[in-house]
Symmetry: C2
């Protein structure tokens, strides 16, 4: 017979291909392959899947599934569904793009933005210790630019969320579409 423990849980062609899309998307935002696989399989499935089903169909370890599901739930990308008569956890994917993006921003992006703010605060006093006056003034100017960049980034977040929430803006640059928040 065929090699390896062939079970009927193998992924179909379209499932493998759709999971591949999520694996690439995960990699794009710096998340490991297994995360993309787990979310991808849940996204393909018409019903909530159990821990064991994820292990078996994806052929990855229990450890990977456990950690992957943990992070995905933290991001709000996967939710538990309680199924009567079963002790097992059943996992479902979040399907709202807005919530997915919000979860990612809140968990993976905002913390860096906040710690960045603190860091820039401390930078000013270090710059004041520079002896060379011209260089010190130059550095203060650059610090100012950095603060501007930070402010713009902060303003961007709610705008992105608004667009993903279905809001429309009027956009005079792109002639074809009209947006209004």
């Amino acid at each position: 017979m065929s090699a390896s423990s062939s079970n009927d849980s193998a992924l179909s062609a379209w499932e493998a291909s759709m999971i591949d899309v999520f694996v690439r998307a995960a990699s794009l935002i710096g998340l490991p392959r297994s995360i993309g696989e787990i979310y991808g399989l849940l996204y393909c499935s018409p019903r909530a899947l159990t821990f064991d089903e994820l292990v078996e169909r994806l052929q990855i370890s229990k450890g990977s599934v456990s950690q992957g599901v943990k992070l995905l739930r933290q991001l709000g990308a996967v939710k538990l569904k309680y199924v009567a008569g079963s002790r097992r956890d059943h996992y479902q994917p979040e399907l709202s793009m807005k919530r997915l993006v919000r979860g990612f921003i809140k968990d993976q992006f905002e913390p860096h933005l906040s710690s960045g703010s603190e860091r820039l605060q401390g930078l000013e006093s270090l710059i004041q210790q520079e002896d060379n006056e011209a260089l010190r003034e130059h550095a203060m100017g650059r610090l100012g630019t950095l603060l501007t960049w930070q402010q713009r980034t902060r303003k961007l977040v709610p705008i992105v969320m608004a667009v993903l929430g279905g809001a429309k803006l009027f956009d005079q640059d792109s002639s074809a579409d009209e947006y209004v928040i």
Copy 2:
């Protein structure tokens, strides 16, 4: 005397701290440490720096500087400045946030978005090979959702660029600020 070949090119406290900001930012968008270091040092400097100065002040190899500068130029984050009377290349940082973001999106983001489009195209025919009709219809529904997400992402790019370009939008969600493109 002190250990190691101590030269007077060591980074000052504020330089190290500012470079650290860029190293973290680079890591956030999936770029290696050396890229953040190179851009960071150029950002600190009041004048264009040479290849050798980057190697010596950052204490990284010629290979890293060569590859790092190559990518940064590709992203449009670093530009050459021709200096009369010197054969060496002199590098300067791009200081426009809009151009920095545009370069990053064009080089590192758009390609993935484009290849994603192709991939979704092929997915439909794979789904049509699914025997189970209910499952096939479910999969088609999910593919549709994915296409919607892709469209929204594409619409987002020009909006982000517009905001970074200084455009203002009216935003009814955040009560404090008013934006109008």
